[in-house]
Amino acid sequence: MTDLDRFLSTFFNLEVMARYLPMIVDGFVLTTYLALVIIATGLTAGLLLAVIRSQQIRLVNWTIVFLVDMFRALPPLVIIIMIYFALPNVGLGVSGFVAVWISLSLVLTAFAEEIFWAGIVSVSKGQWEAARSTGLRFEQALLYVVLPQAVRLTIPPLTNRAIAITKGTALGSVVAVPEILTQAQTGLSFSYNPSTLTLGALAYLILFVPFVVFGRWIETRFAWKR
């Protein structure tokens, strides 16, 4: 029993947890906020790029594909470190929060653009033609006929991708953003007891498990029934 006791007092030390709970809660609030602005920015920008791409202007499309490829190929942590540690060299210092926000938004934009674009392409040509034949303009056909169908197909992959990328907010700990992991590590360095990490882990689970379950539900619901 002493082994178990030791284990519990090391990883589930209620006294330590209680002491650092307020810090973790602060981190939780910040992580949630950061995750939400990343999702809002990334999805909006991704949709916008996909719509621009549907105009089929060659040079513009090449640029979009180039940028999308780049932000799919680069590890998010590399992007964060570039923005946070490199930009100050040319006098463009940004806070860790902004660095993470920009970086992860860029990554989500790239993935969302690909997903939205795939959705738009998957809507058959006949749908465009039917819409245009009744006098709808290009933008109207896109907005009222094509996008509603495209978005349906994109919900499952977008949900999964948004979860995967917003989990990257933990990378903010590398650039001193006081999110959950940072707070948990700070707590660890003060208390010298990893229960703060346990508490941080619980905070992440509380935040993300509902999304994962939601994603699973939506996947079965919206599965490609065509």
């Binding site: 284990f7 490829d69 680069l74 590399v78 490199a86 979860i163 590398v174 992991l181 948990a184 689970l205």
Partner: protein, 223 residues
């Protein structure tokens, strides 16, 4: 303009940092060659158990998969690397990274393999069993090959993510590519090594992104 070139594309610094970064790249590649097969094997086991067994096996596996899909990999790594030593086991960075990646990637790969197995039509099981193949043989020779083929883009996509994810090993001082670049940067006070590391990642992973993009569009065209 010269400031930008000096700070980001300083050839002299890049040259000086190049050998160090090359070593880092080597470690990144070694990491990939360890964690990807381990993750694939783990994922296949998770999927096979999850699609065969009774609910007593399946639900814990669903919980396992969802748990680690909800868990940020960096948090997992920090937990393992900084938490486990409190139990008296001094864990090396490499072991910590492999363990963390096993838990994380086997969940993702497991989910992909499960979807693949479920995409194989029932008739395939029945046809195989009707010719006298055992359940294990049916899985090995009939179901899994088709399942894998159905989810190739997802497998590549996840493998790309795993390769990118190896960069978080830098946080626990494993001398892979990003760690090497940050060391060089902190010595030179110049961002060029980071830019060089980014270029290395692009050279390594851009072709994968291209292939993936084509595959995804082809899959879609079939729908």
């Amino acid at each position: 303009m010269t400031l930008i070139i000096d700070s980001f594309f300083n050839v002299k610094i890049m040259q000086a940092a190049f050998p160090l970064l090359l070593q880092g790249l080597g470690m990144t590649i070694v990491l990939c060659f360890v964690v990807i097969p381990v993750g694939l094997a783990g994922g296949l086991i998770v999927a096979l158990l999850g699609t065969q067994g009774s609910n007593w096996v399946r639900w814990p596996l669903v919980a396992y998969v969802d748990f680690f899909r909800a868990f940020p990999p960096l948090v997992l790594l920090i937990f393992i690397y900084f938490g486990i030593p409190f139990t008296g086991w001094d864990i090396a960075p490499f072991t910590a990274v492999v363990l963390g990646f096993l838990l994380n990637t086997s969940s993702y790969y497991g989910e992909i393999f499960r979807a693949g197995i479920e995409s194989v039509v029932r008739g395939q099981f029945e046809a195989a069993r009707s010719t006298g193949l055992s359940a294990a043989q049916t899985m090995a020779y009939v179901v899994v090959p088709q399942a894998v083929r159905n989810v190739v883009p997802d497998l590549i996509s996840n493998t790309l993510e795993v390769a990118k994810l190896t960069s978080i090993a830098s946080v626990v001082a494993l001398p892979e590519l990003l760690f090497a670049a940050r060391s060089a940067q902190s010595i030179t006070y110049n961002a060029s090594p980071i830019v060089l590391a980014a270029l290395f990642y692009l050279v390594l992973l851009w072709p994968v992104v291209r292939v993936l993009s084509r595959l995804e569009h082809r899959m879609l065209a079939r729908h």
